[in-house]
Each structure stands twice: as C-alpha cells, then as structure tokens.
C-alpha cells in the first residue's frame, strides 16, 4: 500500500477511529502479561463472583478468576484467530481467484462451482459441523474458519483479474512476451490489492465474531484458556446478578468488530476512486 493512500485512508474520520481501536487492542493484547493484575487462570474459591472493585476492575467469575486479566488474554485469542484465519482464507482465495480469473475456461468453471457449493452452505453451520469432528482447540478453529471463508476473496480476485486482463497495459506486457507468472505477479495482483485488503480487514471482523460464537457454544477455545466468547458463556449463567460477566466481554466483542468494520469501510472509501466519488 502506498504511503499517500494510507494517509488518505486515515484522513477518513471513521477509518481513523477504527484504526485507533484496532491499534489499542493490539497494544493491550501484546502487553497482556505486563498489564494483567492477576494470572488469568488463577482460581480463588473464596472470591467467587465479586463485583467490580479496585481489587478486581471487572469483578471475578464463577471460579473467582479475575475477569479483567481474562479479558486481556482473551484479546490475544481474538486477535490471533482473526488474523491467522483471515490469512489462510486470503491465501486460498487469492490463489484460486487468480487461477480462475487468469486462465478462465474449465479451470474457472471448476473453481467457481466449488465456490458456489461452499457458499450454498451457511458458513457458521458448516464450521459447527466440521468442528464437531475435530478436537476443539484454538488452532483447529483458526484453520477451520480459514478453510471455510475464502469464497468471497476468490470471487473478488477473479473479478479483478477478469477485468484487468483486458486492460491495455496487460495486453502490452503480453505482447512484449511476458510470461504468465510475470503478468500475474507484476501486473494483475498488485492492481487487485485494494479490494483484497479491504475484504481481509472486514473478514477479520467476521472471524472474531465466529470465534466468539464458537467459544460461546463451548466448541471454541477450551477451558481454562480465556476467550471473550467463553467468558460470555460463563456470564450467561449468572446474568441476573453478575452483570459484569456479560457486559465486558460483550462490549469488547462489539468494539472490536466495530473497529475492523470501520477500518475496512474507511479503507474502501479512501482507496476506491469510484466509491470515493460517490460519497463526496
């Protein structure tokens, strides 16, 4: 991404807000061991379900664990799952999309039918079904989310390739004898980067949501490891009087997803001349 584009993107106030949120979470997650006042898994049966106080900023859970510390470590999980899962999805999506868009013909048909098949199954249920066969663990979750959410990127990249291939500069390069590899990596891919970045950032938001959802259902990150989703599940049991167990993880998920969405949409507005014109 070029520097002027970054500046342009961040001059969009919404994108800036999103960027600051994501940056904040990144800092918190990185520094979790230094900020956290307690060991996130330290149980204290004498301090079960304490209200937020100076001792426990976000109270304690059903086993007397410090919620604030668990939230900090949960941020790591959220971030990790989001980025790795989207990394996998993007890698698959770019490769398949590039193949389909560049070579067209039967390769395109095969790949796009695969995309259609995958899209015809609701993603979350597909993930639930796959996870049910595997041991639930953070690594499996990241891989499964990645393997089930590459279809959007594939379509996007294919569409970009299809249109870019017909452009003059590509034809010129082709006429000069450039090979497939050079065309793809030097011309087509760099020019498709914008939509890929935008969709990745938006993809992180949905990966974070899916991870929280799976953990909430008990199929995600396993005890005693903390994740926002499983703190929220614990909170469900006590919601009538231990509001802090539901409020804080709920807010954290909300803000994170909002952050990625704001950043993603801000980037799109800034980087895509068509939508920028439309908005202004």
């Amino acid at each position: 991404m070029r520097r002027d584009l970054v500046i342009k993107a961040l001059s969009n106030p919404l994108a800036l807000v999103g960027f600051v949120i994501i940056l904040g979470i990144l800092v918190v997650a990185t520094l979790a061991p230094y900020i956290a006042p307690y060991d996130p898994n330290a149980i204290d049966v004498k301090a079960i379900l304490l209200e937020p106080s100076a001792l426990h900023y976000m109270g304690t859970d059903g086993l007397g664990r410090d919620v604030f510390s668990r939230m900090l470590y949960g941020a790591r999980i959220s971030l990790l799952v989001g980025i790795v899962a989207v990394g996998i999805a993007t890698a698959i999506g770019v490769v398949l999309g590039a193949l389909a868009g560049y070579y067209r013909g039967w390769i395109d048909v095969v790949i796009m039918r695969m995309v259609d098949v995958m899209l015809s199954i609701p993603t979350f249920f597909l993930i639930l079904a796959v996870i049910a066969f595997l041991t639930p663990s953070i690594w499996n979750i990241m891989i499964v989310i990645g393997l089930t959410s590459w279809m959007g990127v594939t379509r996007l990249v294919r569409a970009e390739f299809l249109s870019l291939r017909e452009r003059e500069f590509v034809m010129a390069s082709q006429t000069l004898g450039a090979k497939d590899r050079r065309l793809i990596f030097k011309h087509l891919l760099p020019n498709s980067l914008t939509p890929i970045i935008v969709s990745s950032v938006l993809g992180v938001a949905s990966a974070v949501l899916i991870e929280s959802g799976l953990s909430f259902l008990g199929l995600g990150v396993q005890a005693p490891q903390a994740s926002w989703g499983n703190i929220l599940t614990d909170g469900k049991e006590y919601i009538q009087f231990a509001w802090w167990l539901s409020l804080f993880p709920g807010l954290a998920i909300l803000i994170t997803v909002l952050g990625y969405n704001l950043l993603g949409e801000g980037l799109r507005d800034a980087l895509d001349p068509r939508s920028a014109n439309k908005n202004k």
């Binding site: 059903g62 086993l63 396993q222 469900k236 049991e237 006590y238 009538q240 009087f241």
Partner: protein, 555 residues
C-alpha cells in the same frame, strides 16, 4: 417433585441441583405489592392447581418404555407399584396390602388390597401385575429395565388378590425392584404393541391423578382420579409445563407462573439471600439426592492400571475446595458409593485428605518424576498427561477446571474436553475410548451395585465401563445379592466400600444437595426434608383458597 428413582442405576445427565440459571432478567423485576400473607396458618382444604416445570417433554407416559426423567416424574403420579418407600425409605405396601417371603427366601407372595380400581372403573387385580411382569420381561419390549425381572423363573396369579414370584435363588434387591415396577392395566393393553401403543399418550392408571390434557410442546395437565387406590389428594390439578431453558424457569418462578423448580447453588446461596421479595413468597428446601459426582479412570489404560497413580491423583484433589467452590458449600464429601448418612455408607471411611506431599511420593514410587525439568512428571521419557472428558454441565466443567489446577501442582498435565451427552455416551463411554471421565452416578435405594462394579459388567453399553476388576469385590457383590438380612448385608457392603476406597478406581468428588424451591402458597410440605425427600407426601400438600392463582373468586 422428587420421585423415588426406580431405575436400577442410571448415569445422570444432570445431578439434582445442577441446574444452572441463564437468561435475561434484569435485577429487581417489578413486583406488584401484595397483601397476601403466605406465612399465615391455613386449614387443609381441597382444590387448586400446582404448576411445575420440566426441561423436556416426555416421549410417552409408560415409564418402562420412556425411560427419561421427565416421563417418570409425571407417570409417578398416574401409576402405582406393588410396594413403595415411606418417608424414612422403609418399604411398605402400595397396591399390595402385605407381602411374604418364603422360608427358603426364593418366593415372594404379594397380597393385594381388596377393591382396587383403575381410573376407568375396571377392577385392578393380580392379573394386571402378572401382565406387567410379562411385558417388562418380553424381549419385544424395548425397555432397559428388564434385567431384575428376568431373574424371576415363575410368576403366577392364582387368585385376583394374590401375585407370587419365584427366583432360582434368593435375590436381595427383589423387593426394591417391585417398588420400581409400575403396574399397567391388562384390559387396555392386551394384544397391543407396548412400544407403539396409543396408551403411551393416553394412559389410564390407578394413582392420585389421571391425564386430563396433553398439549404438545406446552404442558401436561393431570386431574384428580376419583377411583384412586391410595385415597384422595388435596390438590385438584397438577400441571407440568415444558420449559427447556432453566433461566426461563427461574423467571416464571419469580413471576408466580410456576410453583416449583430445582435451583442451582448460585440461585440458592447468592440470589435468594439478596432478594427479600423472593424469600417472602418462595420456600427453599434442601435435600441430599441419592447420587454423587466422581472422577473415573479407565483402568485398562496406562498409567491408570497403577494403583499408586490413582491414589496420588486422589490425594492431590481438594474435595472441600470443590464443595466450596462449585457447590458454594451445598454438598457433602463422599467416601462410600452410597448416599451419605444412610446405613449402607460405611461410617469409618473418610475421603482421601488433600495432601500433595503424599501424592508426589506416590507418583515417585510409581516411577513418575520430573526428569527433564519441564514441570510435568515423566516416566521413560513419557510425560504424565491426560484428558478429562465431561458433559455440558456447569458444575462438572467447573470441577474439571479446579482439578486441572490441583493436578498441575503435582506435575500432571490435564486437558479438559466438554462434550454433548449423546456423543459422549455413544462415542466415548460405550467404546471405552477415554482416559478419565468426570461424571455422576444416580443410584437406586437398594445397595446392590453389581452392574457398576462387577467385572462381568464390562461389555459395551454396560455400566462398568471403567473396567474395574477385583475378585474380592466380585464375590462381595455376588454375596450381597443373595443376603436378605439387612444387618448382614450392611457388613458386606461396608467391606465393599472399604476396598473400593482403597483401590481408588474412581475419585469421589462430592454429593450435591438438591435445592427445590416451592411457592409458599403450597402448604403441608415437610421441612426439613425426610430421607425420602420433600416429594414423599405430595398428596398431603394443599393450596389454601386465599392463596390460589387465576381462580374465580365468589366473594
């Protein structure tokens, strides 16, 4: 309402009182001010209806076929057995006036009360008892409860009031089994396929209540049976509503829409004390269920075949911490596989104390030490680590996390896996594909635990799935079944419990209290609960006119 668990031994999905609240009620739901005095003295009177909640809808109301707890709870109000347990858990006649055991202890003769009738007015005779026995032992009947009754070699009904069963040898759990078999009407079921008959949705029984209405997915309404064999109950109608979500049940209880439910420790010990408005209208009760929670080892897998490893784990688990942390103190420690405080519990036995030094010594003796300095003990280069499997039950999940931490302290690496019940049983228990499980046993009142501990009971689907095998225990269990003298039986089962504790094939964790909450409009409840639980005299419960809900008043 608690009913005597008449099933031989069922592994329970949820322990009594394990219900967990979830839901979306705000704190301090608006409560209309009421001038009704729930604590006043009211004379006994008939009428009114009691509304209960259950999590699942019964699949049918023939308990030997349906099997699930929701079905047996409703059916217990519709059908009678020959015998029953009184409030002190002593056997007494229900349909039977009396029973005699022959001198050789192989034959039991039941004499029925005269003039018994079904709800439809037809006479209830020993032919019905014989018919029911034939049904439950018929191989075409899809019931898990046939084993006890298949031991009977001869059953006969020589006259309408006499029913006689003969065993090939004395069988001590026999009477308990006859307290568990609900008698079905021959005149309505003869010639029908018991597995599919319409009777399951439209039962006719002989107990206090009969079915009035069954609205699918909503409720079952029972109304008083005018021909009841045990006299007339005070309350006119029993309504059972199907509310799968426990949080919704709790909201309904607070909103006066249901009269009773089972609370969890948090609701009992944390929410209620903070809500005087709830305390003024809802009565809380505490009763020890006939069940316990345990950590079970797969004795066919290494290293759990080594008694020192099992004992080390037992010493390393702090049971009091579990009771305090998971049950908020609402539980009892367990050292025998019986309900604490009953005669079958060996009073000399104490749980393994929490002693990490001893645990580490035992591991060392078994060859486990931290040779590579990674904090996990190992033997021949293999670290000691295993997975605890449990089902989706909040108390069990929390227990697993506490145990995980304690075992880490002695250098054992534990992971936890929480599974949905059906796949847990089907995929792991029945195949024996597990290392350690965290589960509960819900027991019958008879001390016979042949099916759980005898080495012959290890086939897929049988209850000795941990693979316990001890010749001495086998012979004690065999003798216990043949011994009809309660005092001699007690000696046998005390020794059995002692060996079991020493062998440590499972770690007893705790026995939790059942915590029923019942609206104070319901009067006549025994408090504190007798050994049989508060549900033993529901027919004596009554709802004073002034306290009834939704009823047209004539004043």
């Amino acid at each position: 309402m608690t009913t005597i668990n008449n099933h031989p031994i069922v592994p329970m999905r949820l322990l009594i009182g394990a219900f967990i609240l979830s839901g979306l009620a705000g704190c301090g739901a608006p409560e209309h001010t009421t001038t009704v005095d729930y604590d006043g003295d009211y004379p006994v009177e008939q009428g009114g209806s009691l509304v209960e909640a259950t999590r699942g809808e019964p699949s049918g109301l023939i308990p030997m076929i349906a099997g699930e707890s929701a079905a047996s709870a409703v059916a217990a109000n519709i059908f009678n057995s020959l015998l029953k347990y009184d409030k002190n858990l002593e056997l007494e006649g229900e349909l039977a006036k009396s029973w005699q055991v022959s001198p050789d202890q192989k034959t039991i003769t039941f004499t029925l009360k005269p003039g018994l009738k079904w709800a439809d007015g037809q006479p209830l005779t020993s032919a019905d008892a014989l018919f029911t026995w034939q049904l439950v032992t018929d191989d075409n009947t899809r019931t898990p409860y046939g084993a006890d009754y298949k031991l009977v070699t001869k059953a006969e009904a020589p006259d309408p009031l006499t029913f006689r069963v003969t065993y090939p040898q004395p069988y001590a759990p026999a009477l308990d089994s006859w307290a568990g078999l609900q008698i079905l009407p021959e005149h309505l079921l003869k010639g029908q396929d018991i597995n599919t008959t319409a009777f399951r949705r439209n039962p006719v029984g002989s107990h206090y209540y009969q079915l009035k209405e069954w609205r699918n997915g909503e409720r079952i309404t029972l109304t008083r049976n005018p021909n009841a064999t045990q006299g007339q109950a005070n309350i006119d109608q029993l309504v059972t509503r199907f509310i799968p979500d426990e949080a919704s049940q709790f909201l309904e209880l607070m909103a006066n829409n249901i009269d009773s439910m089972a609370l969890n420790p948090i609701q009992y010990a944390r929410i209620f004390p903070a809500r005087p408005d709830l305390n003024s209208k809802i009565g809380l009760y505490k009763e020890l269920g006939n069940s316990y929670t345990y950590l079970g080892f797969n004795l066919k897998h290494k290293p759990f075949d080594d008694i020192r490893v099992r004992q080390a784990i037992n010493y390393a688990i702090d049971k009091q911490e579990l009771i305090d942390g998971v049950l908020l103190g609402l539980g009892e420690p367990v050292a025998s596989p019986y309900k604490p405080g009953t005669r079958w519990t060996n009073p000399k036995l104490k749980p393994y104390p929490y002693d990490t030094a001893k645990a580490i010594d035992l591991l060392k003796a078994a060859g486990y030490e931290d040779h590579d300095g990674d904090g996990i003990v190992d033997k021949n280069g293999k670290p000691l680590s295993f997975e605890i499997l449990t089902n989706q039950n909040k108390q069990r999940e929390m227990s697993a996390v506490l145990i995980q931490r304690r075992l880490k302290e002695i250098g054992i690496d534990v992971t936890i896996r929480v599974l949905e019940w059906a796949s847990f049983v089907g995929r792991y228990i029945k195949t024996g594909d597990f290392d350690v499980v965290l589960l509960g046993w819900s027991l019958s009142l008879d001390p016979d635990q042949f099916s759980i501990w005898h080495s012959s009971q290890q086939a897929p689907g049988q209850f000795n799935f941990i693979g316990y095998h001890n010749p001495r225990v086998d012979s004690l269990l065999e003798r216990g079944r043949l011994e009809l003298d309660p005092d001699k039986r007690m000696v046998i089962y005390h020794e059995f419990a002692e060996i079991l504790l020493e062998d440590s094939p499972i770690v007893y964790l705790f026995a939790g209290y059942g915590l029923p909450a019942i609206h104070k409009r319901v009067k006549g409840i025994d408090n504190p609960a007798p050994p049989a639980g508060i549900g033993h005299n529901t027919y004596e419960w009554y709802i004073p006119r002034a306290l009834r809900r939704n009823e047209i008043s004539t004043q």
